[in-house]
Amino acid sequence: MQPILLFFVASCLGITPALDDDVFFESKIRPVLVEKCQKCHGSQKQQGGLRLDTRSGLVKGGDTGPAIIPGKTGEGLLLGALAYHGDLKMPPSGKLALETIKDIELWIAKGAFWPTEKNPTPGGRTQVIMPSDRAHWAFQQLKRPVPPKVKNSALLQNEMDRFLQSTLERSNLIPVDKANKSTLIRRASFDLIGLPPTPEEILAFEADSSPNAFSHLVDRLLASPRYGERWGRHWLDVARYADTAGDGADYPLPEAWKYRNWVIRSFNSDMPYNQFVREQIAGDILANENRGNKGPTHPTTLSDQIIATGFLAIGKRYGYAPNTDYQYLDFADVIESTGRSLLGLSLGCARCHDHKYEPIGTEDYYALYGIFQSSQWSFPGGEEHKKPDRLVPVVTTGEIHRLAAQKAENVAALKTRLREILLQKAHLSGDPIVGGPDLGFEKQKPKSPIGSPWLALGPNILSPQAQSPFNHIHPQGKQGVRMSAGAANDGVRYVFADPVMASPGKKIHFSIDFHVPGKSVSPGAFRLYVGRGVIASTALDISISSQSIMVKNGTQWDLVGPLNPDTWHSLNIRIDPDSKTYDGLITTFDTPKLPSTSIPFSGKKLAPGWDGVIDTFICDGIGHVPGSVPVHDLDNIALGEVPFAKPGTTTLLPLATTPDKGKMAQLDMLQKEATSRLNAEVARPLHDVAYGVAEGQPTNAKIQKRGEPDKLGSEVPRRFLQILGGDFLDPKSRGSGRMELAHWITRKENPLFARVMVNRIWQGHFGRGIVPTPSDFGLRGDPPTDPNLLDWLAFQFVESGYSIKSMHRLIMASAAYQRSSNGKEANLAFDPNNHLLWRFSKHSLDAESVRDMMLALGGNLDLTIPKGHPFPPEPWGFTIHAPFYALYESNHRSVFLMSQRNRRHPYLALFDAADPNISTAERIPTTTPTQALYLMNSPFVHDQAKGFAKSLLAKNQDDVTRIQQAHLFTRGTGPSPAEITESLEFLQSYETALKINGTPSPQVRSMAWTALARVLFTSNAALHVD
């Protein structure tokens, strides 16, 4: 054999090379630096003030600036010099090989690893956070910056403006003027509620000259229920919300909408953001805590708090069955999504190794992993387990008991009712089998061994002599079964079609009549078994010899009475599953007239380990004493959930022989109705459930080496990220740790919590965050354009009690928000991308706003709040090869569209809505011909345009007024005189063309207006916000 040593590419991070960082550095980078650079830039000489023999030397740079910025290949002077791009060409002896330059660039991109200065620690050791990482801006406590002084305070509208104004002044930029009022109301409406203002609203706002006009407008919009539908959607992007599970078969999540609607409600009620987050992480635990003394400050319900945990569960899921094989991937999703959405930190890389760029260690990852592993997760249904499981009840345990008892009562009442009907029918038809659980004796062939549905072994025969004289449960029949001595295992067995199951509060009743003819001297005893299956799970045993009647009390036989020879006995038993005991009454039929003797017994223990199900009755020869059994007769066997009449309390009359057909039909109908009511009640879920998480078995996770769940390393105690405090669970803590995690994340000392959210709110208003990478505040993210502004806002947020609506008011009151979107040559030249907010950035409407606007203008928008989706009823059989796929039409707002993970909703995907497979921090708008095809040719746009034209034509107005209205509706401003003329010309030429095409004249006008509506709907002015 011939061994070969190979080097493979380390591609977990997707970066070549494949070598470990230190190997790569030592083999590719250090030799170049030593050989080509350090003669002039080393310990001996530092030409240009530059040293290239330490990492800090490279970062610090020389006289002209830093040589490298780790992680940023676009900055620093080194790469440009190596590439010979500008004046600075290094090394002077000649350009390095392209491959070498590429290596250096990759090295910088990866963070410029330098072994002596920073050593990533392998998993298993306590990770060390480097001071330089700890010093990263985002990990510093919030400062309370003083808004800076500005030269031109006339341009300020509030304190926030000072930050922006001072930056503009430093760059000698003068912002553009304030937007006009029609622009402002359209901007604010789309921004806060995602719908256009009506012409009446526009005119009213334009007419309102009070200084508070705009703040009143903002208040009105914030009070609208439509607000939550718009801003809730922003959160749903971050929360990676979808209505399906996302594994290969993409099972529907019928409960997901509850979380979606909860998010919308929470935004509408301005739930404080810290509570909003706490409930999403630990709502189920908080719900139980609230029943004690301290509740949340903001009103909520137990049900809502449990639904809120959908945030954790709603991610893309990987398992095919509710087992733990793939759960490490589910946890990978939840750890990464929680990190990105709530902390602005990417934690996912630490699954396989200590994070290369962020101070996040593998131990951090598995500390959080332990917390999530200690919880129980709803299962969405998958290829190997084709239905949802472990859904979380949204009621308390006490309430579940109450509801169960209530339901048992309802079911019992309905069964009683059904039984009454069946008895009446039996009476009418003379057919006792119809009338109740006589177990088919009367239907059997007389004088033969018992047949189906019974199973029998050994000597037995149906006989008139075995007919019981009792008639309080079944009407008097014609035969019972007579059994004689055989093998011990011989006997008869009956399987009830309707098993009876124990549930809290329910009692189960069993009755049987038996008789030992003559004076038997057989030594053995026959046994009556009641339980599930063939002795699979015994509820109770009764044993009868020619002398005595015994019942099983737990594991021992108790004597409950003598057996009277040649006498019929009726044994009635009441089982109480709650106390695991049963009572009984033995009544003998001494004279033909009346039952005379009754022997009660009580408190007998049910068989240990009974599973709560009764579906089988057996009579065999395995009684309390061995030996051949006496001849015995059985009759009138009954099992039910309602008490049977006692012997002597009622007499069921002998059966009629000629049934009344009319009466029978009526009873049939009643039976059908009673049966369906009973079935409905049985099928009715006891309580509502949520797709979320509940507390599970608390346990610490072990490190999975290289991210592989079968390569386990040392156990990691559950705790918070080290860079954010690293708090451990209280040793006394008995929960999963989610409660503590919720606290750690939302506490004031966590500087990321408020910063990340105010940045998202800012981004929602301006299209770009102060930190342009809204879910990445770590070392690899972009720094804030103005850290003081960010901190000032974060402080306002905290002081407002985490009120998101307060932040809207603050931001929207600023001059920065209210600027026009006009260009300005000097500013464009300096800051073409408007990073300094010298104007308002015009942007295109997002997918939901385009669709909702058209629905609203088309008169078809349904503003009711829908619940779930019309998923196909279970059972489901979706597989990877035949996954679930559906597209549901709806006129509700677009936030309510059913969104699948595996096959995107075609409209939402076409117009750049968030991909729900990952937490989406920002949507990247695109403009494509396929979007244009949708706008030109989709039935949706045509339908809405038709509706819009209809409403314009319905009003008693002239065409010019209609054109003005149409422009106001679609773009928020009226048309210029030239535009009115152009519109009229368009209508005229369109009508002419329609007539030439032979369009029937009554349709011409509405078709032309519909065409105008389409043009306005799809115009840039309608599809963009200024």
Binding site: Q2, L6, V9, G823, P906, T928, N1020
Partner: protein
């Protein structure tokens, strides 16, 4: 008052053409892209030097096609089957791993005058090998599907970058304004989804348009107005009011892109259905592409429609073979390569044959690639599958200025590492651009303060393969 940022004449020039031109030239006149002024981003442009090809058909077999079972025969691997070697990484883990060499189960044959070796997986393709240049010893930077797929398309596994098709659209524009410059024929999304054909920082008009084989390859392609004239009237009015808006707001890429998108969409309505309709192809052609066979009809349609779109001037066509599931990722059993090869062998051979007999191959560059190869070894001696291997794989090119009947580059005796003329993703891209008349170092776009290239700071044209 808004300061004038540009002259009215300038603006009208920027925004004219398309429906503006239609409106001026008479309402019912055929839209004609050739009226567009050179400022149009999709207007056909000259390259940096004379080109050898006008267009590219880029075939992407998803999942990782094993090079040592297809185009890179390894007799020594067969001889040493079952012996062990030591690998320093395995499935992304470092360390020393004793692994068993596993021979290919597919016999190789020599084809054509050139005698190019091809395995029994591709007998039809074998018959056209005199037109094909096999590139062995390719390597790429990642052995993850998503990243390697992005690398093969954008040159970067790590950062979001424009796709090669977008770069070429940006560099050369497109001759037919009624079809997108860059079209992707894909029954299912590949790894990384639409990112593989995204334009990223390049203007959005250069992004790939996804065509899904089926009854309606492009959604909403059918006009809903009673006649074409009526739609033209609407679009002319739309253009007019959008231009009014532009005059007010000043130049704005997003607004101009929207105007442009309607023009392209309008043209697509007539051109696309015609291009997708293969009903008028001869029986012989349909058979050639395997449209009549269940196994080949799917990819046969993609190849045939690609030829039809190429005829109509589409600059860059990508055909995605399978998608992100059920693809060439044969971890479990290499026998699965048989099913996958059967589906594309005849259609691709037909495409080359058909292009050639129509005189189109000379100016059409056909590129076939995959994200990476597969390992020559595995953890068990009798393991039927192979793992990801990004250090060596095979691509090939045909037509458009490429030498046929040659093999470029080589790997070691087991196909583990390139030994001669190793080629990186950037080299493949540089060569594609070169054949189209573009210098990969000069095709740049200024973004975030830097001039970006498809080939980043690397890439060498594979000169030996140029005809």
């Amino acid at each position: 008052m808004q300061p004038s940022l540009f002259s009215r004449r300038e603006l009208l020039q920027r925004a004219s053409g398309g429906f503006g031109a239609i409106a001026l030239a008479g309402l019912f006149q055929q839209a004609n892209g050739s009226q567009d002024p050179p400022s149009d981003p999709l207007f056909p442009k000259q390259g940096h030097f004379p080109s050898r090809a006008d267009r590219v058909i880029f075939i992407y077999s998803t999942g990782g096609v094993s090079h040592i079972d297809t185009f890179d025969p390894k007799p020594k691997l067969t001889a040493d089957h079952g012996k062990t070697i030591t690998a320093s990484r395995w499935l992304n883990k470092p360390g020393k791993f004793d692994r068993y060499l596993i021979k290919s189960r597919f016999p190789f044959k020599q084809y054509g005058r050139s005698g190019t070796w091809v395995s029994d997986l591709f007998p039809q393709l074998g018959s056209v090998m005199d037109d094909v240049c096999v590139i062995n010893g390719m390597w790429c930077e990642s052995d993850g599907h998503d990243k390697a797929t992005l690398a093969a398309h954008t040159g970067s596994a790590q950062f979001a970058r424009p796709s090669a098709g977008s770069w070429i659209s940006y560099g050369l524009g497109t001759p037919n304004q009624n079809l997108p410059s860059f079209m992707v024929l894909a029954p299912a999304a590949p790894y990384a989804g639409a990112q593989t054909w995204g334009s990223d920082f390049l203007p959005a008009c250069h992004q790939g348009t996804h065509v899904i084989p089926g009854p309606e390859p492009l959604a909403h392609i059918r006009p809903r107005t009673p006649s074409r004239n009526l739609q033209l009237l609407e679009l002319a009015h739309l253009k007019r009011i959008n231009q009014n808006g532009l005059l007010q707001s000043g130049p704005d890429n997003a607004l101009e892109a929207r105007i442009r998108s309607f023009e392209t969409a309008f043209g697509m309505q007539t051109e696309a259905p015609e291009a997708f309709n293969i009903a008028h192809e001869t029986e012989e052609t349909l058979k050639l592409y395997g449209i009549d066979q269940k196994t080949t009809s799917g990819f046969g349609w993609q190849c045939l429609v690609a030829r039809r779109l190429a005829e109509r001037g589409v600059r860059f066509l990508e055909l995605i073979d399978v998608g992100s599931s059920n693809n060439w990722d044969s971890h479990g059993d290499m026998a699965d390569h048989i099913r996958l090869a059967k589906a594309i062998d005849r259609p691709i051979a037909a495409l080359i044959t058909d292009l050639k007999r129509r005189g189109m191959l000379e100016r059409t560059l056909v590129v076939w690639t995959t994200e990476f190869g597969r390992t020559a070894f595995n953890a068990k001696a009798d393991h039927p599958g192979r793992e990801h291997h990004n250090l060596a794989f095979t691509s090939w090119m045909a037509g458009g200025g490429v030498k046929g009947g040659m093999v470029h580059g080589a790997t070691d005796e087991y196909g583990i590492l390139p030994t001669k003329d190793k080629s990186y993703t950037h080299d493949l891209h540089a060569t594609m651009l070169h054949l189209l008349g573009l210098d990969h170092e000069r095709l740049t776009y200024r973004h975030a303060g830097r001039d970006y290239r498809l080939t980043d700071i690397a890439g060498n044209v594979l000169k030996p393969i140029l005809a």
